[in-house]
Structures are given as C-alpha cells and as structure tokens.
C-alpha cells in the first residue's frame, strides 16, 4: 500500500508523461499520502456487492447505417498541430534502428 519513486517513474512511462526528477520526488511523497487516505475503502467488506461502474443502466445505442453529415476534412484538421496533404502529420513512428 505504498508507492515508491520507481513506481512513479514506471507509471509516468505507462501514462506517457516525461516526469522530471523533481516531480518524481514530489509525487512519490504526495501519492503515498493520498493512497493511504483512500485505502480506507478496503475496510468495507463488499466482496458480495456488485461493482457499479455507472449510475444508470448502460445499453448500446445503435442508429441506422445511413450516411449523415459530419465534420469536413478541413474542419477535422483545423485544430491539428501539424497537417500535410490533407492529413494529420505525426512525428516518425519507427526508431532509426
């Protein structure tokens, strides 16, 4: 029930956050305190209780398979940090090796 600096570094990697050394120290301390505080929920014996993921019953919503107006290509690209040839331009996907 505790979270170390190495744990925070690993979680940062999983969450795609390039954390600084100072942040690793800072968050390790704070998250430990937060986790200790929220861990109180384990006091409740609730193994037989169904988990509730949502306050209202969830059902898939289907619509007819009909083409409807949507954002134009220009609109979809309007907020992109970089675009090229009517497409989103992304940094290279593969490493050089």
């Amino acid at each position: 029930m505790s979270i170390s600096r190495a744990d925070v570094a690993h979680l940062g990697k999983l969450a795609r956050l390039e954390l600084t050394e100072a942040e690793l120290d800072h968050y390790a301390g704070q998250l430990d305190v937060i986790l200790q505080s929220v861990a109180r929920i384990s006091e409740v014996t609730a193994d037989h209780i169904p988990p509730m993921s949502h306050p209202i019953p969830m059902v898939n919503v289907f619509r007819d398979d009909v083409v409807k107006p949507s954002l134009s290509r220009d609109e979809a690209l309007s907020g992109a940090p970089s675009a090229q040839d009517d497409r989103f331009r992304v940094p290279r996907i593969l490493d050089e090796e």
Binding site: L11, D47, P51, H54, M58, S78, A80, V90, R92, I93
Partner: protein
C-alpha cells in the same frame, strides 16, 4: 453600477421582451461590467463580445418584428470553458488545449443558442475540472468577489464568480464531484447538479465520464430553473442521456412549497469538521424549513464516510483514460517535434509540457489504480463502495422526499491555503461527492453569512434521480423565506468591487 446588471435573468428577459430595454443594451452593460472588474476577479478566459452583440441585435430585430421568443431570450450567460463552442477558444483551463477552436458546438451550447441566450464568453476553471478552488487553472486563479484574497470554489470558480461579480446573470457549470455546488456555496449563488444523464455531455471535454454532469448556475432559484429547462432533455448524441420527460423545474421553483415535505438530515454529512458559522446557518435553515411546514427527519447513510476514498480512485481512473486523447497528434499542443524524437517521445514531452501538477498527479494515481495487481483492491473495490452508497441513498429516499446537508464544510478559504495539501483540498468536496457517485441530483443555495468571517454559507438539497423538481420546490420555498427575512437575496450584500 448599472441597475441592469443587478436584475434577475427573469426580469431582464421580461424587460427585453416588452422592449422596455434591448438585448443589445443588456449585453453591452454586462460587457462594460466585465471590462471594469474582471482584471480583479479573472472570471473569464475569453470574451465573445462581438458575436454576443451581433446575436443581441438580431434578437432585438426579431422582437421588434413581433416574434415571440423563449423565456430567457436576450439574457447574457457565462460559459464554463470545458464546453465546446464552435470557433471560439476552448481550453478546459489547460495549456494543452491553448488556442484550440472546436469545429462544432456542444449540445448545451446548441440549446443555449436555440433559446436565444447570449453567450458573453468562456469562464476560468481548474484544469480539466480537477480542483476545488480554481487555483489549478493554467491561466491563473479566479478571485472570489466577496473577498478577492479568497478562492471562488472549484472547478467552476469562473462561472460562480461571474455571477457574484454581476458580470453575468446566468452561467453554465459542470459538476463531477461538486464543481457547480461548492463554487455556488462559497460565492453566495445558486447551483444545480442535475440528475446524471439529465443534461447532455456531448461536447463537454470529459474528466470522469460516469460522474460528469453539466448544469445551471444563477443568482436565484427561479433563474436557475429557467436555465435548467433550456439545457435539459434527451440527446441522441449522448448514449448516457436519459430519454424521459424533464420534470417541471420552473413550475416547482415558482410554487416553492415544503408543507408536508419530509426532509432527511444525513447524519454522516454534518457534525465534526464543519466550520462553526457553517453549522450555525445550516441549523437555522433547517429550523426555518420546519417553520414552513416541513418535517425534519434524521437519516443515516452509513457508507458515506467511504465516498471520498471511492471518488478519488474512480475519478483518476476514468480521467487517466479520458485524458489519453491529449497526445499532441490531432489537436492542441505539440512539443518536442524537432525531428529527433519518436512519436512516443513527442507524446510524453507534449503531455509533460501541457498538463499541470494536479492533472499529472491524478493521471498517475489513476494509472496505478487500474494497473494489474491493484485493480481489484482499488478500482473494483471503489465501484463496490459506490453500489453501497447508492443503496444508502435509495433507502433514505424511501423515508424522505429530499435530503439536506451543508454544501461545503467551510466558507471560502484563502488563495494558496490548501494548494500544497491535496487531502485538505479534497476534503472540501466531502458533502457533494456522494451525489455524483449515485447519479442523483442536488442544489446548493445560500443561507446566510458565517458570523466569524462574513462569507456566504451554502445549503445542499439532494433528491432522487429524475426528481430534480423537488430541489426547486424545496429551494424555492427556502429562498422565499430568507428573502422575506432579509428583504433581498443574499447576493445583494456582495461588495460592489
């Protein structure tokens, strides 16, 4: 100060409809007020003054031609910056979305436009709605108009402050764990978290999808009801939108009656940890409700004490997933793209540069709670606690019509006071969070000033899902009794700035 900015939305709408004043004049006086005081308050991140005036002009022309418009036509509104508004900057208080202009309107904005409500601009908020003080905005804090050294609540501090500073008579907020009600409480305004699914989330930048809910904010119960009626109702664009008639919230606010109503006092949401003046005003309000003919009944919701823990596991878990979309590829900020970094590195550098400390803290916590080996102990257990809290509410609502508690344990605290103590900050939401976990509805309205600091105290009513009208029935009655006592709404006592 122009008299117009102190008027209720209902009064302004009637004056505009009867051509006693014009939508342009009403819009202009509010823009003038913003220009005069917002450097002190910082309620707004972005103004839409030109389009607001153009819209107001068109409304005036339609009224002049004899057209009958809706009940809030021509009334100005402040919009929380978490809701997409086509062509206008929408940042959710974050650097990662700085400069982004959505190519579409959220459903709430579509309905505001359809009702001819004039949007003045986008209001400040804690980054991605994570916070209880609006100090976690990437664009600097908002100040409470009652005392500029204090917080206006959060995450919707900008919307609440705009109302309390008379910069707008109506505002929209979103409430994930109390972000409409707690700011209302500390600014002496009225805020309602509708039933989950009662107002569409389409176009709202998601924080925790099973908890988030847009809702109305105003300075009186009736104004809040009028706005509620505009934005509520089924939306096929949101799969969690409830397809059922909206209760008559306006009629309930106008009737305002608690005779014969059973009001449950939640034992676990009072007592220790509440500021003396908050507890005093809360008790006085309960006595007043009793004098008005309500029956006050103590009820116990034994699992409420675990609500905070469950919430602070469920929220970051959902947030870590929802915020994965901010990776610098399709919109928003991109950093580190100098040709030397791979796409994964660019994503990590971008997210590190674009997110603030509270957001990173919660993303890490959520990633931890969802990770293999911890999932059952944290996330699944929190979801089971959520079931128990919902059952507590269901059992309580078999005995009473509405539940009551103070909205927040304290009045507005000083800016910076809790910034480095996340647990202390999170505790501010202790009375509001259970409502979001269960998906029910709740209202905060002002019940006086705390004697020790002269700051507003909020009173919370809670009602079952899809019984939002009960909030307005009880809130309308309490507000009317308080106005009788004081001779005016509490907000009239706010400093003139």
């Amino acid at each position: 100060m122009s008299d117009l900015i102190r008027q209720s939305a209902a009064t302004l709408a009637a004056a505009i409809a009867s051509r006693e004043t014009s939508a342009v004049e009403v819009t202009q006086v509010h823009l003038d007020r913003i220009a005069a005081v917002d450097d002190k308050v910082h309620a707004f991140l972005h103004l839409t003054g030109d389009s607001a005036l153009a819209q107001a002009k068109s409304i005036d022309a339609r009224i002049a031609s004899g057209e009958q418009l809706g009940p809030l036509a021509g009334v100005p509104l402040a919009l929380k910056d978490v809701l997409a508004m086509k062509g206008e900057p929408t940042t959710a208080g974050s650097r990662i979305l700085e400069g982004w202009r959505p190519p579409y309107d959220s459903t709430v904005v579509q309905r505001l436009r359809a009702a001819d409500i004039v949007i003045l601009g986008k209001t400040n908020m804690d980054e991605f709605a994570m916070g209880s003080s609006t100090e976690h905005s990437a664009y600097g804090p908002t100040h409470n108009p009652w005392d500029l050294d204090r917080i206006p609540g959060g995450s919707g501090g900008g919307s609440a402050a705009a109302l309390a500073a008379f910069e707008a008579p109506l505002a929209i907020g979103t409430d994930t764990g109390g972000s409409i009600r707690q700011p209302a409480s500390v600014t002496g305004t009225v805020g309602v978290k509708p039933t989950y699914g009662g107002v569409s989330r389409y176009g709202q930048i998601a924080l925790a999808s099973s908890l988030d809910q847009p809702g109305p904010c105003a300075r009186s119960v009736l104004d809040t009801a009028l706005l509620h009626a505009v934005i509520a109702g089924h939306d096929p664009m949101d799969s969690t939108s409830i397809n059922a008639p909206v209760p008559d919230v306006v009629g309930a606010a106008q009737r305002g009656d608690v005779r014969g109503m059973r009001i449950g006092v939640v034992k676990e949401l009072g007592g220790d940890g509440y500021q003396a003046g908050v507890a005093q005003r809360y008790t006085e309000a309960l006595n007043l409700l009793q004098d008005l003919g309500a029956e006050i009944v103590e009820v116990s919701c034994p699992h409420m004490e675990y609500a905070l823990g469950a919430y602070y596991l469920i929220l970051p878990s959902e947030a870590s997933s929802n915020l994965a979309r901010f990776d610098g590829m399709r919109y928003g900020l991109r950093a580190g793209d100098d040709g030397s970094n791979s796409v994964e590195q660019v994503m990590a550098i971008t997210r590190e540069a674009g997110f603030g400390p509270e957001v990173k803290r919660r993303i890490i916590l959520g990633t931890y709670a969802l990770s293999s080996g911890y999932y059952d102990a944290y996330y699944a257990q929190a979801q089971r606690v959520r079931t128990l809290i919902t059952r507590d509410f269901n059992a309580a609502f078999e005995k009473v019509d509405v539940l009551a508690s103070p909205t927040a344990p304290t009045t507005a605290f000083k800016l910076g006071e809790k910034l480095n103590d996340p647990i202390a900050m999170y505790l501010n939401d202790v009375a509001t969070i259970p409502v979001n976990l269960a998906g029910i509805c709740a209202m905060s309205l002002p019940v006086g000033l705390a004697p020790e600091d002269g700051l507003p105290v909020g009173f919370q009513f809670m009602a079952p899902a899809m019984a939002d009208d009960r909030l307005y029935l009880a809130g309308g009655a309490l507000e009317a009794a308080l106005v009788d006592k004081w001779g005016h709404l509490l907000i009239e006592e706010a400093p003139s700035l």
